[in-house]
């Protein structure tokens, strides 16, 4: 059953240079307990999408339209007060840089307690006990000492564990993780990814993972949605997407990352380049958003925007020329 259903989400910003269509008509859903990855490069609208789900977009200059149905309610119709009861409770979020998302003058314990006392109505003592349990759950050694420490006393990996502890404290149904491991070193990233996978099994929350790292996607996502210039261009189960990407942009992205071990298997080759750059979202785009950089683009692409079409089992892509059915790998 769909836990979250987003229909025709449009998040636009008024800027001096015109309306920036950061997210322009994106629809998707997340099932209970599912992990959906949203991938794309800077400016594709993946973070704006997640901020829109949490209604963290300042309005104005932003404006959110469409519908975001979460557990039967349209989040866009809720009052600010009702929305506050959902944030951090039913839907919570972790960000890329834990140093800027934790409050530097409050102890870690106080920051975990806060959500528990506000949303779950626990008293200070019960919240403290639960905070220590949460720190144990996310694998922080000596949790009883750590609850009394401040964020600057923790390393980057520990801070991200604290962020995860805060996010999971109220047993959310949906966790939005926006580039959760991008700022971390690779050995610490491995720890955090393992933690997220373990916790997912134990807590059962659905996850929206926002990232540009295809390795991280392959590691923990079940389904992937690829965004480009504020639109969804492709969506498929993770194995299917990596095996037979249909949209030329997805194909380009996969070809642009070198594989570890490629020098040994003799598969080393020149990296595929996607020429040019992302279009200016302040100017209206007629036709396919990727036409300007696509090697296959024709007049058809430049005139008519392709709709999302079914190209395979649970696999949709927005391209006039993407092959349908099974593609021989």
């Amino acid at each position: 059953m769909a836990l979250l259903e987003v229909d025709n989400l449009q998040t636009h910003f008024r800027t001096p240079g015109g309306i920036n269509r950061a997210v322009d008509g994106v629809s998707f859903h997340v099932d209970e307990g599912e992990t959906l990855a949203i991938v794309g490069e800077s400016g594709c609208g993946k973070s704006v999408t997640s901020m829109s789900l949490m209604r963290l977009i300042p309005e104005p200059p932003g404006r959110i339209a469409g519908s975001i149905r979460f557990a039967g309610k349209d989040l866009l119709n809720l009052s600010d007060r009702e929305m506050r009861a959902i944030r951090g409770n039913d839907i919570s979020m972790i960000f890329q840089e834990p140093m800027t998302s934790l409050n530097p003058v409050l102890t870690v314990g106080r920051q975990i307690r806060e959500t528990l006392m506000i949303h779950q109505g626990l008293d200070k003592q019960a919240a403290e006990t639960h905070a220590i349990e949460m720190l144990t759950l996310v694998g922080i050694p000596e949790p009883k000492r750590r609850v009394r420490e401040y964020p600057h006393q923790l390393s980057g990996g520990m801070r991200q564990r604290v962020m995860i502890a805060i996010a999971l404290a109220c047993n959310p149904k949906l966790l939005i993780a926006d580039e959760p491991t991008t700022a971390l070193d690779v050995t610490i990233q491995a720890q955090i990814l393992k933690l997220m996978l373990d916790l997912k099994r134990r807590v059962g929350a659905a996850i929206i993972l926002i990232t540009h790292d295809l390795g991280v996607v392959a590691e923990i996502a079940e389904r992937v949605m690829v965004m480009y210039a504020g639109r969804k261009v492709e969506e498929a189960p993770v194995a299917e997407l990596f095996r037979s990407p249909r949209h030329p942009y997805t194909q380009g992205l996969l070809g642009a990352v070198p594989r570890l071990g490629s020098s040994l298997t003799g598969t080393a080759r020149r990296l595929a380049e996607i020429p040019g750059q992302v279009p200016d979202l302040r100017k209206p785009i007629s036709g396919c958003v990727f036409a300007g950089r696509c090697a296959l683009a024709t007049d058809l692409c430049r005139q008519y925007a392709p709709g999302l079409e079914e190209k395979g089992p649970r696999h949709i892509a927005a391209c006039h020329y993407a092959a349908k059915g099974a593609v021989a790998a």
Binding site: V186, P258, E273, I274
Partner: protein, 330 residues
């Protein structure tokens, strides 16, 4: 045999830190603590490791952005770590740098033309105004930017284009070695591929040597000839690309490689998950610096620091286990 282009011998850089507000006793960050390596002409050596391992400090020491604590940096047979300003000036032309963030490393008030002309004028490389113009347009062609972009300022470019300007500025001085300090790390996937390809083309075209400092192991494998792995200010393993990626010897190299997520869903892999964090370089662990996180630690590691030993032709490893392996097999 001609000397290597760059030779670094037992390089140390300790930064003083104040222990407390009223304390006189100052402590040191042992950022780089005895690092030696060589780079041949036209070769790419990659320095890899996690934040705080000292890889950027090594790069900056070679550029002589600060004076080093101990050791030697020898460029083409001549020491540059203690060279007088007049000799240093000529040496600086031969070693250039490309930084990570093209937004903060280009002066926003200067046009690209002036950014690129500065090193050319500074080192007196252009014979005349026409020659300067020829060089400028050639640089733009080399990094595949339109010539008319010479009159624009950095903010008018995208991140990838800015990094091309940064590379053109490094090339303007006609260098033999370029230090690339996380030069592609801040770029998006598709743009990163463009810059990586450009660097590879430039290397084969001009026979440049590169010191490629990066934490991205897949990119390193794609680009490099040799790799030096650093941990807490020391090199723990140096080897040609093939050996590092096919048969890493040091436990840290193994853990680092196994931690990289592969873009292959369902790939069978058993990452070695290291416990804990990198210790502080102010109080590095005694003995082997990796012993607090090493899965194979034994008593000797806690007291005695392992030295780099040959583990194969061109492969060097600093680990007590290696020594054991060598004695039992011989």
């Amino acid at each position: 045999m001609s000397p290597p282009l760059l030779q670094v011998n037992d390089l140390k850089k300790h930064f003083p830190v104040k222990a407390g507000l009223f304390s006189r006793k100052s402590e040191f960050v042992y950022a780089v603590d005895g690092v030696s390596f060589e780079i041949a002409r036209g070769e790419t050596l990659s320095l890899v490791g996690e934040s705080g391992c000292g890889k950027s400090t090594v790069g900056r020491a070679i550029l002589r952005l600060f004076d080093i604590t101990a050791g030697q940096v020898i460029l083409d047979g001549q020491r540059i770590d203690d060279a007088a300003p007049s000799t240093m000036r000529q040496m600086r032309r031969r070693v250039q740098v490309v930084f990570q963030d093209p937004f903060s490393s280009l002066n926003p008030r200067m046009r690209v033309r002036d950014i690129l002309a500065e090193p050319i004028r500074n080192f007196g490389l252009a014979k005349s105004a026409e020659d300067l113009e020829v060089r400028l347009t050639a640089l733009m062609d080399t990094v595949r930017l339109p010539r008319e972009a010479l009159n624009r300022r950095p903010h008018e470019f995208s991140g990838g284009q800015r990094q091309r300007v940064g590379i053109a500025r490094a090339l303007a001085a006609d260098p033999e070695l370029i230090v690339c300090d996380e030069a592609v790390s801040a770029l998006d996937v598709s743009v990163k591929a463009q810059i990586v390809n450009l660097l590879q083309d430039l290397q084969s075209e001009f026979g440049l040597a590169l010191l490629f400092i990066s934490h991205d192991l897949a990119i390193v494998e794609h680009m490099t000839h040799r790799v030096a792995v650093m941990y807490l200010g020391k090199i723990v393993e140096v080897a040609p690309r093939r050996e590092i990626f096919a048969a890493p010897r040091h436990p840290y190299t193994k853990a680092l490689l196994s931690a990289v997520p592969l873009p292959e869903p369902g790939a069978q892999r058993n990452p070695i998950i290291l416990k804990g964090d990198v210790p502080s370089p102010i109080n590095p662990p005694k003995g082997c610096r990796f012993h607090t996180r090493c899965p194979f630690v034994f008593d000797r590691c806690r007291v005695e620091e392992p030295v780099l030993r040959a583990a194969g032709p061109e492969q060097w490893v600093a680990c007590h286990l290696e020594e054991g392996a060598a004695t039992t097999s011989s």
